[in-house]
């Protein structure tokens, strides 16, 4: 059911990745021998206990940080290994956990920043495209506002647009909807689904919210607690675009039960390990 992205690009292959943090001699194994595949244009959702190394994996793919062992490939090209690390670039776009819209730039300036520094578009051209995108999602009146004047839900949507305008091969979102309330969250899901259907890209989506994971994903990857490995991969075979009434369906509840059991077990382990560590 995976929809193919632009030219079928954006397949990620994670092979035996290990990451060890070693600041001042404290040996922390964040990930050990972690492998899985994300097909081109697939919506992959990564869930797992906090501090399990999901963000570590994201950093490695994005090129912010290196890995201790293993390889990561993007469309067959090696992008990360202990020997080689391809720098962050526009083909892998990240939407950050706490939001990283530049507060000193207006919404419009934020969105057109990418194409302009890359020298890919003229300013007027970029503005026109950005306007179209804003219009399409019903946010046309906010282009001259500063991010901090907007509610966090709108900030998030602008940030996703800022990423999409660069036409990346992979979009990585690190718990983008954390802290939003139920209604705002459903709006965000609707928005993201709209974006994904009109501009299909490979999605790498980290979350803690299981409803969100199953509702949005083609593939839910459940990670174990530290050191992170793949515990289970659950495929969600429900047609796109999805609507909220599927939340009550038999298939959905079955999937949720499956994911819930697996995640809860890991969360408990992580919690107990954390408690032991503090003592």
């Amino acid at each position: 059911m995976a929809r193919n992205g632009q030219n079928g690009q954006g397949a990620i292959s994670i092979r035996n990745v290990t990451k060890i943090y070693d600041p001042e001699g404290v040996h922390v194994v964040a990930m050990q021998d972690c492998s899985f595949e994300i097909a081109a244009g697939e919506f992959a959702v990564i869930v797992g206990p906090s501090g399990c190394g999901k963000t570590t994996l994201l950093n490695a793919i994005a090129g912010f940080d290196n890995i201790t062992a293993g390889e990561i490939y993007l469309d067959g090209e090696l992008i990360s290994s202990p020997q080689k690390q391809i720098k962050p670039n526009v083909d892998r776009m990240v939407v950050f956990q706490n939001g990283a819209l530049f507060p000193w730039k207006t919404v419009m300036e934020n969105i057109i920043y990418g194409p302009i520094v890359q020298g890919r578009m003229k300013k007027s051209e970029a503005i026109q495209i950005a306007r179209e995108m804003l219009n399409q999602v019903g946010l046309n009146e906010i282009e001259s506002k500063y991010p901090e004047e907007l509610s966090s839900g709108v900030q998030r949507r602008v940030e996703i647009l800022r990423a999409m305008i660069n036409e990346p091969r992979v979009v990585m979102l690190d718990e983008p909807f954390r802290g939003l309330d139920a209604v705002a969250k459903t709006v965000m899901h609707e928005f993201l689904m709209n974006i994904y259907c009109t501009r299909p890209r490979t999605m790498f989506f980290i979350t803690h919210d299981l409803d969100e994971a199953i509702f949005l994903g083609n593939k839910v990857v459940i990670m174990t607690t530290r050191p992170a490995q793949v515990k289970k991969i659950v495929c969600v075979n429900m047609p796109w675009p999805r609507e909220h009434h599927i939340l009550g369906s038999e298939t959905y509840l079955g999937l949720k039960k499956e994911v819930l059991e697996a995640v809860h077990e890991e969360a408990k382990k992580a919690f107990e390990a954390g408690e032991r560590e503090m003592a």
Binding site: D181, V187, E190, T207, E243, H244, A267, F271
Partner: protein, 295 residues
């Protein structure tokens, strides 16, 4: 997660109930009046866990401050049992958003603060504090400062600080906000276990729909600007609650019902040109689609 010894000593079993009757709260700011709460009436039943839910900024916290006695309603009355609320008191303890642990006191000192200022004898304090700290699983961490505790531990310390005083009513204002979803789930289970054991009157405020349904005996849904009571839902999930219920059909049914109510409000706010309406643009669209399907 915590020891299960001596639950009887945790409480004298003297619990209260809250009546909120026609409460309105208006803030005046430089010739501008803002109605935060309008004619709120509801009842927090004795020995039940009542959850107050509404979108962020709907005046839930103000309502809590009124019940706790930190602020006065512009009109209307609040009664605890039969006594009108005039100021803060030890019969209603509040666990605050984020955390209101005193950062300069250790976990132990925080927990015993209330007893100390009331001049309870030293050995009684010690005995009770040990019991409560063990109960919440913080006995080994009693000499740590709040900044040295993890988020989950801070919340438990705060719970301990409240229950050691055996309040008639325990009020929790989004106590698990800011925790990540996994820890949050575990804290909810811990908290609900604590409630089921003692059966104290609890008023729990949250904007998280899953949290609300998972915990509640009774769910009160508030509207947005001005805050009003929109609906009350009886949550008939069996007790003791456990996490598997999150995937039960009944849970999803109540969830759908609650979201329906919230959407209705969102659409109204959007139609009224509300400030935060941008968040709701999609909500209305999404709703229309779903209604079509159901019809």
């Amino acid at each position: 997660m915590a020891g299960n010894n001596g639950s009887g000593a945790l409480s004298s079993g003297n619990f209260g109930e809250v009546y909120v009757e026609g409460v309105t709260k208006i803030y005046e700011k430089e010739d501008e009046c803002q109605t935060v709460l309008q004619d709120c009436t509801f009842h927090v039943q004795r020995g039940k866990l009542t959850v107050l839910m509404g979108p962020s900024g709907c005046g839930k916290t103000v309502l809590i401050n009124l019940i706790a006695g930190y602020e006065k309603p512009t009109s209307g009355h609040i009664y605890i049992d039969d006594i009108s609320v005039v100021g803060p008191g030890r019969d209603r303890l509040v666990v605050f958003q984020e955390t209101a642990l005193f950062p300069w006191m250790t976990a132990y000192c925080n927990v015993v603060f209330g007893c100390q200022v009331r001049k309870v004898t030293k050995c009684e304090i010690k005995e009770r504090a040990e019991l409560v700290l063990k109960k919440v699983g913080l006995y080994e961490f009693r000499d740590k400062y709040p900044s040295q505790l993890s988020g989950g531990m801070q919340r438990r310390a705060e719970l301990a600080r409240a229950i050691i005083n055996d309040p008639k009513i325990l009020i929790l204002d989004e106590p698990f906000r800011g925790l990540d979803a996994m820890t949050r789930q575990l804290m909810q289970e811990f908290y609900v276990g604590l409630f089921e054991e003692v059966g104290r009157t609890n008023l729990f405020v949250t904007h998280e729909i899953d949290e609300a349904i998972f915990l509640a005996d009774r769910l009160i849904i508030m509207t947005f600007q001005p805050g009003r009571i929109k609906a009350e839902i009886e949550v008939d999930l069996p007790r003791p609650r456990e996490f598997r219920m999150l995937a039960s059909p009944r849970f999803m049914e109540i969830r759908e019902q609650a979201i329906e109510l919230l959407y209705e409000e969102a659409a109204k706010a959007f139609a009224a040109g509300n400030k935060t309406a941008y968040d709701l643009v999609g909500a209305v669209v999404a709703r229309k689609g779903i209604c079509k399907k159901q019809a």
